[in-house]
Amino acid sequence: MTPEAIVETEELTKRYAGGTLAVDRVSFQVRAGEIFGFLGPNGAGKTTTIMMLTTLIRPTSGRAVVCGYDVVAAPHRVRQQLGYVSQDVAVDDNLTGWENLYLQGRLYHVPPAVLKERIADVLATVELEEHAHRPVATYSGGMRKRLDIAAGLIHRPRLLFLDEPTLGLDIQTRSRIWEYIRRLRDEHGLTVFLTTHYMEEADRLCDRVAIIDRGRIVALDTPAALKRSLGGDLITIRLAGTTAAPDLAAGMAALPLVESVRPGADGTFQLVVREGERATPVLLDYLSSRGIRVDSVALKRPTLDDVFLRYTGRQLREEEGAAAYHRMMRAVRRVRR
């Protein structure tokens, strides 16, 4: 373990009883004081990894050391060190916000002498002081999530796990939660391990991002480095008419500034280019010289979504997660009736 690693896994693997290989020989380190993100679509193995690191399920093989303790050999020690906020928004509706935090503090054995002060402290962090004594049943979705995060902080962990912290929340609430997370790291040196399938969240919040797909880490670096690794800007071009000459891709690839060409569906091509502003006219000139009519052309800076596409051959589908969330909330509403 390198000196500053707070989480370290070696070939960590989880195969569920049904045979599904959820996490497949994953090795990575989280450094103390960083915001580290797992980015991937639903079912990629993000939650399973978090559950192994928080001692909720046992790895099938491999090992994980969290805050200096092995998750299998010393789970109790690990639990004392970390805060865990699941994607389920697990707060008790029948208690008030304050009572939820009080109970959480008691379960984490926070000394009674400091507990009330701690509750006030975490309530202030997530700006819920005014609503502390209302039953959680009256809270909005965003308030619940903020309370849940506050509960994860009550024992002042050195490491906080956030599983999809902004799942299904509106954009204002989302940026507020990002703000809390950043402040906790900056002011308290808290290490944050989060999972997300929101590309933007990983990009704007995380110091380093691991892209996970089908149980494997396919790339791990800072968001900037990951985007740089694509080699430049992206041009998506659509030709008028769907039949392109067979040598067209090779012809475009031979142009100056063009790094690579990937044909897509319906006469589209994806090009990675250096200096996109200059490469675009070069490309258009070439196509018109061959008498090919262009329907549309788009130039953009690479995003983590493109990184994901590059490493997995598929796109991160955000609506997938949102749909799952809305299904869940409908189920919740049904049973609350």
Binding site: M1, P3, E4, I6, E8, E10, R31, A32, G33, M51, T55, L56, R58, R63, V65, C67, G68, Y69, D70, A73, A74, H76, R77, R79, Q80, Q81, L82, Y84, S86, Q87, D88, V89, A90, V91, D92, N94, L95, E99, L103, Q104, R106, L107, Y108, H109, V110, P111, P135, A151, H155, R156, P157, R158, L184, E187, H188, G189, L190, T191, V332, V335
Partner: protein, 283 residues
């Protein structure tokens, strides 16, 4: 890599303002303390749902008033062991509310699992057993309260209590021990069955036969022989018999001792079974 017991110490980086105090900030985990706080949550929840409290009070009133009156004339059958059916029925109602309180009391664990609250509890450095014993303690408190209400109601309706004031805590103890048996059964089912529908079906299937194969409503020697044999195996009978002696005859030490020993053993057994099944269900 470090061994599991090596502390993180400075290696984890400087963490100002008290975050990451880790172990130093928390006192040790104790089964009793954790049990109490799990129980505290259950009682708070109950207190927050006044309709539940209201129903647990109304239900025994209906049982007592309705069944006591409906079957009044049974007491006229020669050989019936009590002066009135209500006298006979009162301990039966105490065990009945205990049965329902206990067997439905553990169902909440299925919701906790479904909503992720259980995960949150399990991520905390608490004793795993406390999740089970905490819920059982809450059921014990609730049962003692309910039994006391039924008892007071019965007295108000003219039921005679032969054992006197000292018998009341013994009556409550019997009820609490019985509630632990059913709470244990309910938590065992909750650990094994993760669907609420399946659980409700099983619990509903259990309650009525448990009632009618005991002597809660009818003396053993007035039952068909096969039913009387079943009643001997029913934990309810081991609460009803000593309770009934407290109501009708006063202090029958042999019946009390047998009831307390059988119920306490069953209760402990079910606690152990529920804890073990629960641990297995989260492994």
């Amino acid at each position: 890599m470090r061994g599991p017991e090596r502390a993180c110490g400075k290696a984890c980086g400087g963490v100002p303002r008290g975050y990451g105090e880790g172990k130093a900030a928390v006192s040790g985990s104790t089964l009793l303390g954790d049990t109490w706080w799990i129980c505290w949550r259950e009682l708070k929840r109950l207190w927050g749902q006044k309709i539940r409290i209201f129903m647990t009070l109304v239900q025994p009133i209906i049982w007592l008033a309705l069944m006591g009156n409906m079957f009044q004339r049974i007491a006229a059958i020669p050989g019936f062991p009590a002066p009135s059916y209500l006298d006979y029925m009162a301990p039966g109602i105490v065990t009945m509310v205990t049965l329902f309180g206990g067997i439905f009391g553990g169902l909440g664990i299925v919701w906790d699992r479904r909503f992720g609250y259980l995960q949150k509890l399990l991520a905390a450095p608490i004793s795993r057993t406390a999740v089970v014993t905490g819920k059982m303690l809450a059921i014990a408190v609730q049962t003692a309260f309910q039994a006391l209400v039924v008892f007071a109601l019965a007295l108000a309706m003219g039921v005679h209590f032969a054992a006197g004031a000292a018998g009341v805590p013994v009556l409550l103890l019997l009820a609490v021990l019985l509630s632990q048996v059913f709470a244990g059964i309910s938590l065992c089912l909750g650990a094994v069955l993760t669907s609420h529908e399946a659980l409700m079906a099983v619990v509903n299937f259990l309650t009525m036969p448990l009632m009618f194969t005991s002597n809660a409503m009818m003396p053993l020697d007035m039952m068909p022989a096969w039913l009387a044999k079943l009643a001997v195996l029913n934990p309810l009978s081991y609460a009803i018999n000593p309770m009934r002696t407290l109501f009708l005859n006063g202090w029958d030490w042999a019946a009390l001792a047998r009831g307390l020993v059988v119920l306490a053993s069953c209760g402990l057994l079910m606690t152990a079974a529920a804890s073990s099944l629960f641990r297995r269900s989260i492994a």
